[in-house]
Amino acid sequence: MSAVTALGRLRAAATGYAQPAATVRHRHLSDRPLVFVPYAMAGEAFAPLAALIGDDPDAPHLFVVPQPRDRQRRFAHVAELARILVPYLTEHLSSTETVERRNDEAYERALDAPQVIVPSRGGIEYLHLLGRSTRFRRTEGEYAVHPDVPLMGRWCTYLADRARMPGSSVLLALTDLLTQTWSTGQSDLENGELAALMGWVDPERGRTGAETARDAEGAPPAGPATAPEFDEKLAPLIAAYDTAERAENSRAAARAEERIRDLLGVELMPTWHRVWRGLELMRELPPGASVAGRWETDRMSYSLFAADLDSPDSRPQPRIPGAVAAAQQLSRREQAQSRLDTEQLRDDPLLMAEARLSGQAFRGRVAAVEADRMVTEPGKKQARPRPLLVVRTTDEPLLLRETELECVERPKARAKLIAVADGPDGTREVRIELTGGMGRGKTPEEGSIPEEGELLCWTVAASGFRGGPKWPSPEETPWTHGGPPEPRKELQEGEVRQPDEEELAAAEEPWV
């Protein structure tokens, strides 16, 4: 954490009101996101208990499992969810654009992609487990499930995996969005609970954020974990349902189910409203300049995943990815993280303030320009334009000579640091040499050189997004990493792929 962020939190604690932590929204927000508020039963590995789901704030669907330990009811619940989720997740696939690729075939990219919002991080883990427990299920044979069940399992797995890609927006936890945008006067631990966090960000009339947050600490949790006191109320209702079921008294069972449903609905609704309110607040911020670019990457990933689902050779994501796939994934995430860090810094002057404080960037007015300076660099025959600028700043850059610089206001410009000297009134004068962004000609392009008096922010140039290391193909996995996987069987025209042993084992594993 930098002192700039720390001050925001101190100020929030002192005033009782949340303070800005960002000046733009760093994630894409869909015009029509799907909100998903799930609850799971305590003590079970993964037993869905209830969920609110939908894309209309005024019309959530409530699905409830009256006896979460009942396997039949569990799969019925999953199929209910699938009826909402699958159409939402696939509807964007019909309008696409053709995108050419350098080293690959052209592909169809969806013009928009789905976006699922969960209240907090637990919701992402929930989707991961939902995917894990359903994607291997078989649609025929003894334990056949509805065909939507394994399909949705693969979609949920896709979403949960994608959510771990830095900067992606197809699955977001609202608490992450809010804490990236506002600093509160409470700890990260407390910020993890949506009700208290929303208290800070959206105080009640006449109360401070701190007070609203304190009041909200007794509110129903955002899940997926339920409150123990709530479970005390739920337990006898479930017991009543069980008794009625055992007695084969379907009217009593229906009544008991209705009461379970009502209780859960009341418990989940406050979170549902908070999520939509939180999204409303997020929408008030303008998106960062690079957000659309990252969303394009999401659209690509979404389209490619959907295309893979469609192919006859498609298989569920493995339980544990192979060594090569895991290494590739890790490296892709690292690249995405560094891209994200750089882009967010450019997009947000408040983040840039941290870089300025630490001496990695500086902002100031151009005090002098030597526009027609030409330099013949060693080993080159021709002299090239190398204009000199003097930027006067109150910042304290801690940069070495020759450091490559980029400019926020003039994204094309490249420069090299020559020297930092003391200027008048305690300022510093940074001499920099423009090295790029002036066109290819012998003289700089019109308007490519900053003018005297321009206010510019310079920062260390990003190292560029080179392709990651070369990975062996899965067939070349070294024995130290488990060796190559079993070769895949070539499919004949019209043949349907048969699940392998791994998948069969997973399909038959008990889910109690």
Partner: protein, 404 residues
Amino acid sequence: MGTTDTRLDLLRGSLPTRNHNARTVAALAANPGCARRGVMDAAGIDKTVLAARLGQATAYGQSPFAIVRGHAFEALVKADGGAGLRELLHDVLGVPPEAVADGEYAELGGELPEDAEQDKKRPGREERVARTRSALRRALEDARPGLCAILDHPLLPLDVSGTRAYLEPDAMACLIAGRLHVVEIKSFSVIDGGADPAKLASAARQAAVYVLALQQTMAELGHPPDVVSTDVVLVCPKDFSNQPTAALLDIRKELAVTRRRLARLARVDDLLAPLPAGLSFDLGEEAAPQAVADAVAAVPAAYIPGCLSTCELAYFCRAEARACQSGHGPGGLAGTLGTAIRGELGGIDDIGRALDLADGKCAPERGEEEIARVLRRAEALRREVLDDVAARRSAGLAGAVAAS
């Protein structure tokens, strides 16, 4: 002043008591600087009740569903005189099945589950400790290949800041060559070989407390500490099933941390010494919360956000820390925001004072010049950026209005 025990009795009065368990010892060790918790735990005070009297009850407790499932799973693992457990031990410790197939199964607990309120229907604690000790002695003396004694719900004493706490591991197994393994049975699932990191970490911390207590007991019985393995056997349900699976949990790190922190805990006598004579937390059920608060406030605390998940007094101590002022503005103690921020403030604890330094409203003390300078610059940068953005937004808005 009275002896330690009479002073602790006075502090507790007729407040309900609660014994230490591995979770509370681990929690105490997590915040060794807190005298308040040290005193209350030594007096065996049930802090839930006290928090309620302070008007700051925290929602603690376990879901009935989790409790039922936890007990069912433990019963399943221990069924048939631990036959299933023996199988798991053979698997996880990599020993031939014959090596664990036989041996005493010593049932050392009472009928009551671990978290039952009081030890009323059970044999007395010291009696159970004695039984545990003799079972251990038997197991170690009999130790010969092919024999593995299992001790079900043993009770181990542990010295915590000068008072005796009693700990009850789920089970212990005594193996060939006299190696003892603590067995922890948890009902969270291991899915595809991984488990919830937070739950795993807390299981490891609790296991470390058991291992420490067992080492102490073994030392008293004349055995070196390394007869106790630092590889704890963790038994959990596998994937989405009820089927138990076992894994070894290396708790050497947690053991070292717990040992160090418990050693750092001040002795109760030293915590009691500075307290006003006659101090009691028990002011009766009808006492005004403020009066109880005054009594509790007489013992210094060290609130950190981690208290929220480990201590029943967290809401009270948090409110106190937030309200704390040192002649500057409001804000309270920086520790309420977490440890990362304290690092950023270079030792300045008071939020009001840090802000006054940032705003140039007060002069830094010696040694604070650098952090004060950073804070002032950070504040200037924040101002510049936020004013700029606000100006641009309102210009944008004005532009939009003019255009329409």
